[in-house]
Symmetry: C2
Subunit: 335 residues, 2 copies
DNA sequence: TTGAAAGCGCTAACAG
DNA sequence: CTGTTAGCGCTTTCAA
């Protein structure tokens, strides 16, 4: 059964399609009387405007495309919450794609979203993204683009990030103050902005405390639990003397490290202290609860969406903006 | 800068738009030579077909709409993984909406997805969904529809669920065998299929063991951590004698209960044993690890998507199908 | 093997 | 205040 169109309404009311369209859009030219008739019939027929036709006509859809590396990561889930809230309020819908940390999938997603003629794109890159070619496609078609959290730095584009350096600095400074001597770092992929900045924060905090940096205590792994498991295992087995504290690039990695420590019967924080980054809900539930750096995820999503919307509505080339959000150290019993 | 269209290619090649269209779609009528010329120019111009125009013409988009109650729930995140995998392989994209457990938001989402003329809908209803009016909109426009996990039972529609009754039965049977005497149940919203079935499994398992059912040990709460906290608190404070084991409607609730028990210094399972439902990753990480019922979430997503695709491609009214997936009891140290 | 024309549902410029 | 016309980018008869 075909869906109701503006034409159907027009015929029944012996009006022209354009009048109906205008009435539906509350155009000032149309008489209240006509508007009423149109609206009530539309209601009765359960008319739903065909956004596809609208988009074709406007040469752009009211969809905001989002590409995240993993939907199941709570951090991204919260960000998505922030994005959708803002987008909905502005009359946009959101199309979420998961690149699953795969460069190839990320390309596919972007290609698809371009085909959908999205109004704009919000992207957080994968752990494996190296080239930036696919992001350049976006610029070429000048589709508004904002990166969040994990950004592509080769490209001039707006971005919303947290102060990763500062967050890491505070966490490690805290470990130093607590008196830990051999503070290790399980880091993420080297080229990722978040890994790099957090590592830099780690180094700077140790320097600031007048400590020498022992490079054997620095590992580059990944951003998932399994990387935490690998990393912690390696630190315990291959490094001697071992660390008495570990600052992990994020909470999933810290959780991985946590499970290794428990399995080996090591006490946290007595034998090894542990700190993460993100403040996943799980951080407060494990025992001992995890010291971590709180990232305002929802806020980040909101900001990114706002930035994008501004670009969309203003049309003209806007200078790339970089918003940096503050983090907060949450001290719990794991340190 | 306008994006490249079929017309641009046609002009440059002195062909008609229709020929270009056919060449791009590998139509047999077109000569290989022409196809090659078209394809290579398309490539060079980075032509991306405008799916909006295609959809308008086909009167249906290649988008599958998904409405979940909460994106951040790992269970749904995994389901979404399954859905997108299947959908992508079939050449569809997925538009994910979160109803945030709000009936109103759910309505909005559905309205929006209908406006987008999605090819089909995959829905898991909210905790607060009572009426089914908005689902009837979907049927009226005969848009293919499949419910998963949380289904609307007033409506004749295909669905993919797990055997909630059996899963709950196995969990409670296990608690009985372990020798627990006062087994409580923190349940979900009463009208939800999953809550009802799991409660029924609980009752049946106790009956099967020849136990009397103590109604004061049965609570109806919700599906989130906070409900677990409320529920467990109530069980400890208001019920006497208290329970020596609790079967929770899902893992988030079990986690909530877990944190209350720890806070009160009660030993798990010595003082109170705990079992959940879902097998969230967190279940294996907490200490003691949580006994729970594994739901094949990704598989559920895959099945739901496959069912929907079949409906989409076959067009004709298909009889509603109900797929029931098996669960598996995962026994850990919390019981 | 290719082209011309019409139309998907909507909006907007131009007329009246 | 309302109607006519054209067109968004693509596919698809029908004709050549």
């Amino acid at each position: 059964m075909r869906q109701t169109t503006i034409k159907d309404i027009a015929e029944k009311l012996r009006l022209s399609p354009s009048t109906v369209s205008r009435a539906l859009n509350d155009h000032p030219d149309i008489s209240e009387n006509t508007k009423d008739r149109v609206r009530s019939l539309a209601e009765r027929l359960e008319y739903q405007p065909n956004s596809i036709a609208q988009s074709l006509q406007k040469r752009r859809s009211k969809i905001i495309g989002v590409v995240v590396p993993q939907v199941k990561h709570v951090f991204f889930a919260s960000i998505m919450g922030g994005i959708t809230d803002v987008a909905y309020d502005a009359g946009y819908t959101v199309m979420i794609c998961s690149s699953n940390e795969s460069h190839q999938r990320e390309e596919m997603n972007i290609r698809e979203l371009i085909a959908q003629r999205v109004a704009g794109l919000l992207i957080s890159i994968t752990q494996s993204t190296e080239g930036c070619e696919h992001f350049k496609w976006i610029r070429k078609r000048n589709i508004p683009l904002v990166f969040f959290d994990r950004v592509c730095e080769e490209l001039e584009a707006s971005q919303v990030v947290v102060d990763d350096h500062d967050g890491a600095f505070k966490a490690v400074q805290h470990l130093v103050q607590r008196g830990y001597k051999r503070i290790a770092h399980i880091g993420g992929p080297e080229f990722l902005n978040i890994s790099r900045e957090r590592l830099r924060g780690y180094r700077d905090a140790l320097h600031a405390a007048g400590r020498e940096i022992d490079e054997t205590l620095i590992l580059h792994a990944g951003l998932n639990e399994e990387h935490g498991i690998q990393g912690m295992t390696e630190l315990l087995d291959a490094v001697s003397p071992g660390p008495d504290a570990v600052f992990c690039v994020n909470d999933p990695v810290a959780i991985g490290a946590y499970s290794v420590l428990r399995q080996k019967g090591l006490k946290i924080p007595a034998d090894v202290a542990l700190a993460g980054f993100s403040d996943n809900p799980i951080a407060s539930i494990i025992d001992p609860p995890l010291t971590t750096v709180l990232q305002p995820a929802t806020e980040m999503g909101r900001r990114a969406a706002q930035l994008l919307l501004r670009q969309i509505e203003f049309e003209k080339e806007t200078v790339p903006v970089r918003e940096v959000l503050k983090t907060e150290l949450v001290v719990r019993q794991s340190t």
